[in-house]
Symmetry: C2
Subunit: 337 residues, 2 copies
């Protein structure tokens, strides 16, 4: 198996990407193609003289920066690590692609070049988050910020398939993110989505509130990419706000000061567990190919984990299973009509 | 001055509402009209025999429950405490109205009965939240879940006026909640809103990210009511998620266990400071009248604080100042055309 990795993606590239790739190669026995500026990659690889067998380099002259417009950069920078990395999938020269670079550009390049799975109209970024019961699955956290109800139905189907096949959850409970539990709540968009989900043949448990993204009440929460992205970022910033607030509280109490000292490592671990890189990146589901998005702040471990998840997705044939499930539900739906 | 209070609103009504009203009457010298089921109110008032001068009761036979549909309940329950309380404002028998009851019903009754300020097309619920620098202002957190760009412009104008006149902030910095800082980010709705805010004559500092709701980078963040509501609820639930996560961490570390014990009171204080009742409820801005929304979990102190804020809004003529500011900006806008 060969996994292509965007060596230029993320805040600490190419160093941590090279480190993570070497670690993954050893741990999981996969071959790696590092896509990026050859000189820069080679300078990092020098540190691993003996270990760099099974690591190829594909020279990419251009780099798409974090704040560049997705569509424009993908169109103009044909020799960027993101565009060339996705091309490797298209040409069947790699089985999966990982990038911690510009998320919009990865989504755009993957959609344009690889296309979507049959029955899926928009890709969705899915993440695993810690909940009070274990882990929860959220889709979409930022691929599709102008979603239609049918896209959320497709996200739900992909969530259902992913949870059954990868996380081995029987009959996963799927909720729709809304501002209240009652069916009548929310925008027209959400009311229409509710109807679609209710009539579909999976375990839809109704509206989920913001707290249910982390409560464990559902196994998966579906939402449009804008709200999903904002929610995730509010949760991420909560830790900093709370630590900042606790610092001000110190004037009141020495015990509180001591307390923060003791729990700070745990708080940081929680924050890290929100960082989807910890779970090995965020699968971009719906694409006809295995594409994993890493967080911009990915470290070597995050890159290594993302490679593990890509390998798993290939081995467990996630995409085939999504397509099967879409077909199965479609047949049932047509029989019922 | 006379403030009408929905005695039936909130999880602990009418007890805590009566307690809060009595406390506010003493502390701020305002007269109170308790609107609600007379028998139930009198049972609570008995405890304050000597203190209940200056407290009137307006008997309301019906109660709108928390989960009832806003529009339907306001139309059908003409004798509910919310509808009758708003009527007191309309008839100029009270100067302000406070309810910790069904938020949707309060927004609906106030809009229909009192109408909107000139130049304002939708009301917005505004809250103060703790930030790393002090306090921040967010509008809208749930009145208007199908907002148009022009509504967000009007929210920004109301925020600007409120921050100048009530919080004495010079030239308040106003940000637009979005998924990235660049002007090109977000939905078409947000791009249009950005244009409107950029061309208006207040201190618009561009897009704000989720973390900036709490970072102190802006004095006010404007957003549509759906996203604002979800963000607030994610932040509220963060505390519980974090405490839950820390509990699991205890197995790793005795110090962490001890640490949580020490900081738990501080965490709870932080959680309370998010509860907008702490700041005296959430002003429903844009309505031609002073209406304050309390949190469903309001205690007596929250009710008392809400009465203080209502008194302040009346005294400082918040609505007149909003109208002045709208007129001023409109004149400038037309001069520039």
């Amino acid at each position: 198996m060969k996994i292509a990795v965007d060596a230029m993606g993320g805040d600490y590239a190419p160093k941590v990407v090279v480190d993570g790739a070497i670690q993954a190669k050893k741990a999981y026995g996969v071959d790696i193609i590092l896509v990026g500026q050859k000189d820069a990659i080679e300078r990092e690889l020098v540190r691993y003289k003996k270990d760099s067998s099974g690591i190829e380099i594909l020279d990419a002259l251009e780099v798409i920066k974090m704040n560049e417009s997705a569509a424009t950069s993908v169109r103009k920078k044909r020799h960027s690590s993101i565009v060339l990395g996705i091309d490797l999938l298209k040409q069947k020269k790699a089985d999966g692609f990982i990038s911690a670079g510009n998320t919009g550009a990865v989504v755009c390049a993957a959609t344009l070049s690889l296309g979507l799975l049959p029955g899926i109209e928009r890709p969705g970024i899915s993440i695993l988050v810690p909940t009070l019961q274990g882990v929860g699955f959220i889709i979409d956290v930022g691929a599709n910020i102008d979603a239609k109800p049918i896209h959320l139905l497709q996200y739900a189907i992909m969530a259902d398939s992913y949870l059954r096949n990868i996380l081995n959850i029987d009959n996963p409970r799927i909720g729709l993110l809304n501002i209240g539990e009652e069916e009548s709540k929310g925008t027209d968009f959400l009311k229409q989505t509710y109807q679609l989900l209710e009539n579909a043949d999976f375990n839809f448990i109704g509206n989920a509130e913001a707290k249910d993204m982390f409560s464990g009440k559902c196994d998966a929460v579906v939402c449009d990419g804008f709200v999903g992205n904002i929610s995730l970022k509010v949760m991420e910033s909560a830790i900093e706000v709370i630590i900042g607030f606790l610092r001000r509280e110190f004037k009141r109490s020495f015990l509180a000061k001591l307390g923060l000292l003791f729990i700070r490592p745990s708080l940081m671990r929680f924050k890290k567990s929100l960082d989807y890189s910890e779970y090995g990146g965020a699968p971009l589901l719906g694409i006809d190919g295995v594409v994993i998005i890493g967080h911009g702040r990915s470290d070597a471990k995050a890159i290594k984990n993302a490679i593990r998840v890509a390998k798993q997705e290939v081995e467990l044939k996630v995409n085939e299973k999504i397509v099967d499930r879409v077909r199965q539900l479609k047949t049932k739906y047509e029989e019922n009509k």
